[in-house]
Symmetry: C2
Subunit: 618 residues, 2 copies
């Protein structure tokens, strides 16, 4: 339907620039010429290393870069079919209420850009301080490019604070002209959210050796099911006699056109105990899936939307192949197809870069957090309930080498009630360093993240993992376990050199939990039966959740001794006494980070930036 376009303008720096953009709909054809005041020097468009589609159709594409010296993000938003504007922004968990928004809108004659915020009812307001700074608007054959800048922290209380970890980006498309910013009815827009890690770590990429080889573990031309959510399972196999290699890098291979559908992908290695695994190519939840595939859980590689290539540190590689290592690999792809496209074919997957020249160290993966057990439970109706898993000094003393280990990457994991996850390193009772933290964690966005700083862990150190849950929509307790409605609290840390320690996790002592059930029973007029022959989940389900029973459960988890799993593999403990262990005591907390508000460049005043409207056509 597009029939007319203007030439891209040349954009002299530090001057006003003109940009024309056109759009025809069935109703109206609309030409916008944007005139924008430049604010400082804008980065070149090639300077955006990170890219993600915002909507399932891929009409909006976001590219960005991160400047740690400036403490700012530059966004480049490509709008393929501009109508009457759009909203782009950030909010705590992707909601459109209490969101921080950059808005481009047109009343059919004039167009404007401004920094806005939405209140608790979703009503838009102009921000008193303009912190989304429009740097350039440029028309290209593929669409309109908007370039703008945003400091991590603005110290405007209406603004979102850009932090490490997940950021929930939101967008909305204006399909009709609007008189003013305030007139935008946010709930009537075509809109959506996209989760990304905005603040990618600024780490140097190790050089690949000359003998590097690649192997693609990709889906064999799969027809993506026409349903919103599919987890696709495909079994691949290493060549017979494939010797030990080091994976030193991997990257996604996404079939062109499917960028908005391939949500995340993982390659798992199967258990070495089994000589062979059946072939399979189908949905992971199919009844036809052979049960043995459940033994393919050792993560080799993981990618999620917005993530880039994953590089191992130059001293280490992930061993695969050779004796004691299964030849069988399972590729799992999460297709997210909310518009229910039919018949899309896909051959996405992961490309492994590996070398036969082994690096000095094998990399390993260790599980921190909570044991998968129902004794760790969350009452219903909690907006902010915290469970904590410990890797104690006693376990690290026994299991780590004197020279310590280096954690370089981390993947946080909970089930559906998880809202925040953090692991902190403590030494001699004093918190020293955050290993990885995500204050906007989503169970729908689990990436392996390179750490900004490698964390050295020595014998005697403690690793404390806290998970924050929301169970406001639940009517009964949520217990720990494998089920999707049960919960986990795990941080898979990637480190080197590999040790025997695979699992360093805890759970409350079951005897103390039993005392809690007894106490609840007696305190609440013995109305409920907390009989010991009943299972732990059943006992949790029968608790009347008044404030006292909630508070005392919190106190119990903060006080009772723990049962430690300090394990070589999930079933084999290191020798030692691991029951009724004292909780690590923390005498000194890390200070809360105080957001800095960078003074330069100064934010713009509280008025929208007018954009000159060129021609209006019907």
């Amino acid at each position: 339907m597009q029939d007319s376009r203007s030439k891209p303008c040349s954009c002299p720096s530090l001057k006003l620039r003109e940009v024309a953009s056109m759009y025809f709909t069935m109703v109206a054809a609309f030409l916008v010429i944007l005139v924008v005041a430049l604010q400082g020097s804008a980065p070149r468009e090639s300077d955006f290393p990170y890219k993600v589609p915002l909507d399932p159709q891929g009409l909006l594409e976001l590219a960005w870069n991160v400047s740690y010296p400036e403490q700012a993000v530059h966004f480049q938003l490509l709008i393929r079919e501009l109508q009457f504007g759009l909203l782009f922004g950030m909010s705590d968990r992707g909601e459109f209420e209490n969101a921080d928004l950059a808005v481009l809108w047109s009343d059919g004659h004039n167009s404007y850009f401004g920094d806005a915020w939405s209140d608790a009812k979703g009503q838009l307001h102009m921000d008193s301080q303009q912190d989304y700074q429009l740097l350039r608007a440029r028309r290209a054959p593929e669409g309109l490019y908007l370039l703008f800048r945003r400091a991590f922290s603005t110290c405007d209380p209406k603004d979102y604070l850009i932090e490490d970890g997940t950021v929930h980006l939101i967008y909305g498309i204006l399909e009709k002209p609007v008189r003013s910013l305030q007139a935008i009815n946010i709930s009537a827009l075509r809109r959506g959210l996209q989760r990304v890690q905005l603040l990618k770590p600024n780490i140097s990429i190790p050089e690949l050796p000359g003998d590097v080889k690649t192997m693609e573990i990709t889906a064999p031309d799969v027809v993506i099911p026409s349903q919103e959510t599919t987890y696709w399972c495909y079994m691949a196999e290493l060549p017979a006699g494939f010797p030990k290699h080091h994976i030193i890098m991997y990257e996604p291979v996404v079939t062109a056109g499917n960028e908005a559908l391939v949500h995340h992908m993982e390659v798992f290695q199967c258990a070495a105990e089994f000589d062979s695994f059946p072939h399979y190519n189908g949905p992971c939840d199919s009844k036809m899936k052979p049960e043995r595939l459940n033994y393919c859980r050792h993560v080799l590689a993981a990618w999620a939307m917005g993530a880039q290539a994953f590089y191992y540190p130059e001293e280490a590689g992930l061993a695969f192949g050779g004796p004691g290592s299964s030849r069988y690999l399972r590729l799992e792809i999460h297709y997210h197809n909310p518009l229910v496209f039919k018949g899309r074919r896909d051959s996405s997957g992961i490309r492994l870069y590996y070398t036969a020249t082994l690096r000095p160290y094998d990399a390993g993966i260790m599980e921190l957090g909570l044991v998968y057990t129902p004794v760790m439970a969350i009452p219903p109706g909690e907006d902010n309930f915290i469970l904590t898993g410990y890797c104690t000094d006693k376990c690290t003393q026994l299991a780590l080498p004197a020279a310590g280990i280096r954690i370089f990457a981390s993947q946080l994991h909970t089930h559906l009630a998880g809202r925040k996850v953090a692991t902190v390193l403590s030494r001699d009772g004093r918190e020293r360093q955050v290993v990885n933290a995500d204050g906007h964690y989503s169970p729908h966005f689990q990436e392996i993240r390179m750490l900004k700083e490698v964390v050295a862990v020595f014998p005697g150190d403690e690793l404390i993992t806290t998970c924050t849950y929301n169970t406001e929509d639940r009517s009964r307790a949520t217990v720990g376990g494998f089920g999707i409605l049960e919960e986990m609290c795990v941080n898979y840390v990637h480190y080197y050199p590999q040790t025997q320690l695979e699992l360093c996790k805890s759970a409350v002592d079951p005897g103390y939990l039993h005392r809690y059930f007894n106490l609840v029973n007696r305190f609440n007029d013995e109305e409920i039966c907390m009989c010991p022959q009943v299972s732990v989940p059943q006992q949790f389900y029968s608790i009347p959740w008044n404030t006292f029973n909630r508070d005392v459960l919190k106190s119990l988890y903060g006080f009772a001794p723990i049962s430690m799993h300090c394990n070589k593999s999930s079933a084999v403990r290191f020798p030692g006494e691991w029951e009724k262990q004292p909780l690590p005591s923390i005498t000194e907390r890390l200070p809360e980070p105080v957001p800095r508000c960078p003074p330069a460049p100064a934010p713009q005043p509280a008025a929208p930036v007018p954009l000159n409207l060129g021609q209006l056509r019907r």
Copy 2:
């Protein structure tokens, strides 16, 4: 030792002014001429309605006024014998660490004034934002007057926030020259603290009627004991047949020269049940004091240092005299004599203004808060433990008139562990209004305070009193009770019209406390005997205070039903069921006040104000 003085200077406004001050010590004679830049218009010196001596010798005298429109305090500090400067400031509880200070210092040649702060070690630093604004320095025969201004809130995180309630003022005297602000060794100074209510309410004073009479209840030329602390008791008597009158105002009568020694004074009326009381004039803790004086506890008037005259609202007066009212009064004076002056004679006391023309309403006093019972206890080692006393809707429904009562004054009361007290009015589960709150409450400074706004309380309203305690210096639990090392949580509210309700207080249900003791017993491996035949204090004393037992006690107090004392007099309850009452539930809290930072006049830059030094003499 002073032998030379310069004339007071004339001070043209908005210009630099010169002030000369001299001081001779055995070592050096020292003349300081101060030149100060004026900042805005300074109030006249007659404009300081409030006055308090800072030190026990009365060398430093502070006068001040409060401007609510400007949200600022003007201080006028009289320094009678200036040496090499002084510190004046405010801190949370009168400590010299983490304090906010105005400092006048001299290196022997030049003198400076600046806004400073002390860190956690007591080291002084110049403030990055100068919020103590020096307005004038003036030499008079009696000493040097410094006039400066301070906004209630400066939004400088190093500054003290001036709030309602008690403010701990601190001072320190520089007896030697110092090279710089940083060189001041705060711990080596002669220094002290003085508590005042800085933000006096801005209420209009009712006119006194023509027939007003006065009566002085004063000590009969007492010799102040030469010890730091004395509570002096003196019995006075109304004339036989003295009919009912209304006290409509009272004010302190302080013997000239003893202003720094008379800390607080109260007049109590004795119980009407006894026909007569013995005369007495002596220390309140003397073995010779007749026991019957313990029945003289009904407060008629109370004054503390820094307080002014107390006026009843024009519709009400405090009844005294007439049938059913004792003729006997007890005056209690707290002499604070840290320098142990000997032989000082004192005839201080309180002057009552009363009228025979009764006002429309009798005023009454009602006790809110906690019952005096050991069931309400504070574990040892707590820095911030909160106990809450309730006056429930059920009690106010029964005992208050339909037109409600008006609370116009309040006296907060705890024993030595009390740190904060607040009473909040709640209606239909929603907090509506703070009745009285003191975030820097000190048990050593208990005034009757006029409220800024009269609070109307209607049948069905709830009055919730919270007290915050610090027991960090104690090794065993602090239980509720009358003893000085036991605790209270009381707000004596002064209101009209008088009702039969004298006491509206609560305590946790003893049955639930018993369950708590049982629970502690079972949970802690039954190591301790929590036998029911043991007294409640003994049971509290034997609890091992781990985090669990502490947390669960807090949870108990926040959950368990209460026993209400909804009493006509301390022993007679209103008819009704008052045991096992549900805790009032609060669905909406009052928002935390957000400090405003007044923009004008702008704070000065972060540099000391130099003061021209005139002559230096030996």
